[in-house]
Symmetry: C2
Subunit: 159 residues, 2 copies
């Protein structure tokens, strides 16, 4: 779904966000914890610092911290340096001329899904991920797809 680099970026930012901001995290330790190539992660961290997502400090007692509160960090912002997020707005079939007026054959069916992806990335904060951990959200503010997603007639007998 996302490219590898974006995945690393999200994971490392979430990890940093889960730690007390007093002492910065070291690149090598982060890499070991996440089981990600250290040198590669270094460059990602550097790019995230350049993008204003992280702040870095060099030298002894250096490391990385969030550049701003996790409550104000959106997933889209974190992956923006590595991924063309806006591309999800575009045509499923990769056609340049595809919009509400001149649409590819999939446009009207695909659009709501593309929008839900974009909204997820644009609205979800790093804080909300870290806060809930792996647990289901305490207040499921949004009954996920209730009407857009009628009871799956026929083929899925879920449990």
């Amino acid at each position: 779904m996302l490219n590898q680099t974006s995945e690393y970026a999200l994971r490392v930012v979430a990890l940093i966000a889960s730690r007390p901001p007093e002492e910065p995290s070291h690149a090598t330790e982060l890499a070991a914890t996440l089981d990600v190539p250290a040198n590669y992660l270094s460059k990602i961290l550097h790019q995230l610092a350049g993008a204003g997502v992280l702040a870095s400090r060099r030298g002894r007692h250096g490391g990385f911290v969030l550049a701003k509160p996790a409550t104000r960090l959106r997933l889209a912002t974190v992956i923006a340096p590595f991924e063309d997020v806006a591309a999800y707005r575009t045509c499923l079939l990769g056609q340049s001329a595809c919009n509400d007026r001149v649409a590819c054959v999939a446009h009207h069916r695909w659009k709501p899904i593309a929008e839900s992806i974009l909204r997820f990335l644009a609205d979800t904060t790093v804080e909300s991920l870290v806060r809930s951990g792996g647990a289901p959200p305490a207040v499921p503010a949004r009954p996920p797809l209730s009407r857009e997603n009628p009871p799956a007639r026929g083929r899925s007998r879920r449990r």
Copy 2:
């Protein structure tokens, strides 16, 4: 979203499906119509034939037709040879251990979206795309995002 090859596959299958099945479509003509590299498309067509999506006939008056009715061709089937569709079921953060029990921090928020993508690919038929063309579905079963997407409250006074 999809890789280039999958996009070509969907487009070419939709194009073939839009034509009378009596006379098969030629690879070179399809490539020209879709503005896709001819040699590359040839290989894709061949793979689609191998996958049972298309039927091919060699020699003069040869070409490609659908191997079964468009009503029974799902998008997921068309792209399956080129894309690991099941990967969308997996973790947004690429973590191998991520499911309802042991979840990554994004799992419970991401899951409904991943499922809507999978459902779209698994349920949508080639016929439904071709039938509607680029037009919005005749019966707009779904008022797009009225409630899920409230008027951007608050933080939007940026510039």
